[in-house]
């Protein structure tokens, strides 16, 4: 299965790579700048070819570093936004599921089975996880479908898909993911209590 988590990890690697490049290139830039300064102090003429190239190299390296720093910031901000969005969506999905299960008066065991159905486990796998006969799971699944007024696994799952697509999910509360993720959390925990 391809999940967004992977791309988060890939971006994390990219960010680390960028950080390494920034450090190495900055140190190179400082080396060249130091060299230019010592050359000038040693009395090399400003129009000397060697000095000109060295100065140009320093300027280019610094420009590159600045560019990479901006790029790194943008990348990190995007990762933060994605992280926040995912968390919010996950939290809201859990709420939606809870409400539905309450509405249908599912028993504790049925909630468990329903959750696993939504997570994509088949009856045999659910039976193995719950240590019951697969016949039991089949009976519980049937009960879940009838309570929810659906005709089977596919329709049951699509109930939640529909909720996700029609619902008004707008996780962006601020332009900066860092603060909004933090600011959001406290009132979340209040609601849970």
């Amino acid at each position: 299965m391809k999940r967004p988590k992977r791309s988060v990890r890939a971006r994390g690697r990219r960010a680390t790579g960028l950080a390494c490049l920034i450090v190495l290139q900055s140190l190179c830039a400082l080396f060249f700048i130091g060299d230019v300064i010592t050359d000038v102090l040693a009395g090399v003429k400003p129009y000397d070819v060697h000095l000109t190239i060295e100065t140009l190299a320093s300027v280019t390296l610094i420009g590159g570093v600045a560019f990479m720093m901006v790029e790194l910031r943008r990348l990190l901000a995007r990762m933060d936004d994605m992280d926040t969005g995912l968390k919010v969506a996950r939290g809201q999905m859990a709420e939606v599921m809870d409400e539905f299960f309450d509405d249908w008066n599912l028993t504790a065991a049925e909630r468990d089975v329903a959750l696993m159905i939504l997570k994509g486990l088949d009856n045999d796998a659910i039976a193995r996880v719950r240590n019951t006969a697969s016949g039991t799971v089949r009976a519980q699944a049937t009960s879940i479908y009838s309570k929810s007024g659906t005709h089977g696994r596919a329709q049951f799952t699509s109930l939640f898909m529909e909720e996700l697509m029609s619902g008004d999910f707008s996780p962006r509360h601020g332009s900066d993911g860092f603060r909004s993720a933090v600011a959001k959390a406290p009132d979340d925990s209040l609601r849970a209590e």
Binding site: A19, C20, V23, M69, D80, A108, A109, A185
Partner: protein, 191 residues
Amino acid sequence: MAIASIHTSGRESARDVAVWDPLVRLIHWSLALTILLNGAFTDDESKLHEWVGYIALGLVGIRLVWAIIGTRPARFSAFPPHPAQAIRHVRAVLGGDKAVHLSHNPIGALMAYNLWLTVIALGVTGYMMTTLRFFGIDWVEQAHELAFNWLLLSVALHIAGVAFDTWRSGVNLVRAMVNGRKRIPAGTKVR
């Protein structure tokens, strides 16, 4: 049951907040490495000692630039040098305050500035010793020695502070500097 337990555990349990970006972490550990190398392993008179010193100086330089244009917790504005606030923070901690700071806490911020300034002082006096003008001049060498001793003391305090704050707040600060995330325990206030 399952839903409910997942639901509440998601809310009640610790939450991870990304704090230190890769550049901050890379610079932190590289700087620690250069200090370790020059403090314990390289020959003081050697070229290697000089180069490691320049790298340390460069690392601090990059960090200071990143503190202006970098990510939010890495910026000066997230941890301004504020001695009065540091004292207030210490009082609050002694009074049992368990709040967590996402960036450096006020006293930790002072330590960060102190460490950077000390490394700069070491780098500058070290460079001066290589120049003809200051070569063999006593006060420069003494300043270098003094700065080094001050750095040793600061590093020891820094590590002690990290250990203490990890114990006090329950946020593993070493882990935060490795993977960049602070795991904040449930019900903890965040500043």
